[in-house]
Symmetry: C2
Subunit: 297 residues, 2 copies
Amino acid sequence: MTADDTIGTGDLVVAVDGGGTGCRVAIAERSGRILSTANGGPANVFSGFDAAVTNIVETVNAACVAGGISVEQLRQADAVLGLAGANVGDAALRLPKRLPFRESLVLWDAETAIRGGLGGEDGAAAILGTGSVFGAVHGGTARLMGGWGFVLGDQASGAWLGRRLLERVLLAHDGLLEASPLCDVILSRFGNAPEEVVQFATSAGPQAFAGFAPQVLEHAAQDDAIALDLVRGGARFVTASLKKLLPEGASRICLIGGLGAQYAPYLPNEITVMLAAPKGNALDGALAIALERYGAA
Amino acid sequence: MTADDTIGTGDLVVAVDGGGTGCRVAIAERSGRILSTANGGPANVFSGFDAAVTNIVETVNAACVAGGISVEQLRQADAVLGLAGANVGDAALRLPKRLPFRESLVLWDAETAIRGGLGGEDGAAAILGTGSVFGAVHGGTARLMGGWGFVLGDQASGAWLGRRLLERVLLAHDGLLEASPLCDVILSRFGNAPEEVVQFATSAGPQAFAGFAPQVLEHAAQDDAIALDLVRGGARFVTASLKKLLPEGASRICLIGGLGAQYAPYLPNEITVMLAAPKGNALDGALAIALERYGAA
């Protein structure tokens, strides 16, 4: 700060949570008091870097307008951004130059989500939505695992459940697997034509496959053999990942994401005894990291 | 035939084998004597319909020129085409209108390959290459199974082996699976950066994944635990499919395609005792079907 700074300048931190469907911004004083928030468009820096830049900047500006925050204050603010896609490619290096902040720390949104869920305590978390990522926090340091994406990873995720379901529908059609009621439901939705299932899969992305996950979980609850087998397979992966990650001495496990809580009934007792409700979301996590890093001493 | 037909007109059949890397044409008399053959460009009617039409017509024309066959003779000829991609979409219905023959029967190249391999005898066959398809012939009638493609099917294929290998490389990297020498070889090829494996997978098609299959088979032969597990998993699928398909009383099984023979050491005795070398290729199969259907009585 120079002697010319007006009161308040340099006093702000910005937290951003950005994903494939939208972004959220919170601007706070370095003491932690939130001054303004805003929601905006998608901000996945891997699949759409320029759109992400535009949407983040617009949403930040909207929050500034709402909170009466000046451009000069923003220029002196430090930001932590948890963004989908920041784990691959070089967006985390390129992005700060495009942002209006003094310093910008770009993290993978999995890290901010896990930090938000555990609320700064030691523990492990599973993020189970369209994709899957696992992570742990130990002494304030986060460690992430998995999240390698739809083609090679994201085991136990919604997309993983959906694709494997359709795979089994075709195996059952070929008589290599006993069909279950869920298979029949799915195949009939495709006019009982396996070719239509294949056509769908040719152009379907992770979100389209994940659209079948609710049915898998519903039918698993009704003891459908194939649905149960898929969910149990996912639960085994969740269990192995959490056990691998849980820091010694820690006993807090969070299930985050749209499918997180739905896996609970399929997890073993050694995991469920440690389950705790998430303390916050990914924006909370980004803000917590921002305050830790840039907050008032 | 009408009284106006000149000698030779209407006496020809055409066989076409078309796939993702090229097509082959044979023109024969209805007695079976081959007059001319030619090779040409790719002819996958699902991934590139118009290119397939162009390449097939050009290659047929080249065979006509080489064999001194007239346009009029071609117009009276009947054709059987075994083409990649003919099992999905409506190409099999649209294609005949674009071809210069009297009648055109468009089949999936899996059917002509299985027919060529079994040479008209009853039996079952596995086509194991970049993809996988299984089939049987019983009393001259072919039945096909599988071949649902990279995303949902093609179990035991080269692309399946390759994708599952990369999946395991990432699991081993995350410590969820014990790494094997093959894992280390593959990860080091990607500069020991799992992100690079994911980047590769994002844009890789089935053929790129199948590029890893030779290494999987090589390392399986050297008792690499992960390679062995993958190949044995594929072999179990091949076994189940062949047992499901083999017609009663038949005892001939053919392994076709670049990976076919390489699975033999991993198949159980009940299968290997029935293994027979393929009698011919997919062009032979298309020609055999053409002669059966359109040949001299």
